[in-house]
Subunit: 194 residues, 2 copies
DNA sequence: TATAATGTTTAATACTTTTTAAATGTTAGC
DNA sequence: GCTAACATTTAAAAAGTATTAAACATTATA
């Protein structure tokens, strides 16, 4: 759950420990972010990498990530790729180095936008596809005169239920469009800080 | 992945097979639902139980679930409890039986409402709590005269970044309120079927 | 084109989660 | 308060996932 940086429980605040305090505070927030991402099916270690990149002022290399998180380089390679796939981390280029460099999306609104529209789009796609296939099969079945009245009733109830669920998927599609166009942020506007 | 009901690959549509067709079509849709729920961190078997309950016209007992899904009763007990916790399944009472009976929430809009507001509320709670703790620690630190100028700058940058992220969590809280009050469905209205 | 630096794949291991059988609790009705 | 019918907990096994070291592939540049 935690990386293995040494804690100084009960130590007094002496000059040499001051920087530890920043690291501890940062760790606390990063762990909360990781726990949060875990809610949506992102593993804690990938979440912690995102948090680490989020608070990093400069792009990081795989070697820096592995040192920072105490994990292997292949692990970092896989984790960073998964964050790239989610589009919440970008690869950047920098003169003078051959290493790949990565930065995190620092705007949580954009994070929300890209994260949920991807998930919701997939939900729509997977379910509407299955529904379409099922409807085709049901229609073939309903044309068959050998179908008993009870089974016909059952097939029609099922057909009705999935037809009906399309209303939801169409709404979800509108929500995605609203999120991607930015219109959702007009409907529910973020409040500036005071 | 699949339960072990026998498939009739390549069989012709003969009267005895007709009901199999309904089951197959239903399975297809249920598996899509399970795959979808998996996107949000719900395991496929819990998702499949939800799908099964979703298409069931009557409340189901644990024994019926175990027969339908070919799993053990304790598994069903755990799965159903997790669906109860998510508030997407309800326990119902029926005269004449001592068995517990369960029904699925059949309105996907309500499902969306309860599912995402729970997740988002938890996201807000966990992160704002960590941020508050971090801010307290940072303020103590920033009062300390022994803090080097570089570390002070680092602490202030970090403080600024987490202060700033509160704008997002406040917005998310507004989104939750809008979702729970039903106002989101006025802003982005579902379209009736034609 | 050679080589040194870097990233990725593979295959094995460790870890976590899911599932179950057996044991235990709980409850309703007699 | 017993008993029978159920649900749940526990402990172990099975399955699945994450992590790594080692091998391999790729790339940049001299």
């Amino acid at each position: 759950m935690y990386n293995d940086k040494k804690r100084n429980r009960g130590d007094y605040l002496v000059p040499g420990r001051l920087e530890e305090k920043i690291i501890q505070a940062k760790d606390k927030v990063i762990n909360a972010m990781a726990e949060t991402m875990d809610l949506y099916g992102v593993t804690a270690s990938i979440g912690r990498l995102y948090g680490t990149l989020y608070f990093q002022q400069y792009p990081m290399t795989l070697d820096e990530m592995k040192d920072e998180l105490g994990m292997s380089k292949p692990s970092m390679s896989l984790a960073v790729r998964s964050l790239l796939d989610m589009k919440v981390v970008q690869k950047v280029w920098q003169k003078g180095t051959r290493k790949d460099l990565y930065v995190a999306e620092k705007d949580f609104f954009k994070f929300f936008q890209v994260f949920f529209s991807t998930k919701w789009r997939r939900e729509i796609e997977v379910n509407l596809h299955a529904i379409d296939e099922a409807l085709t099969e049901l229609d073939t079945l309903l044309e068959n005169p050998d179908l008993s009245p009870e089974k016909k009733k059952e097939a029609e109830a099922f057909k009705q239920q999935i037809e009906n669920s399309k209303v939801y998927y169409n709404w979800l599609d509108d929500l995605v469009k609203s999120l991607e166009s930015g219109r959702l942020f007009e409907l529910i506007p973020p409040k500036k800080v005071d």
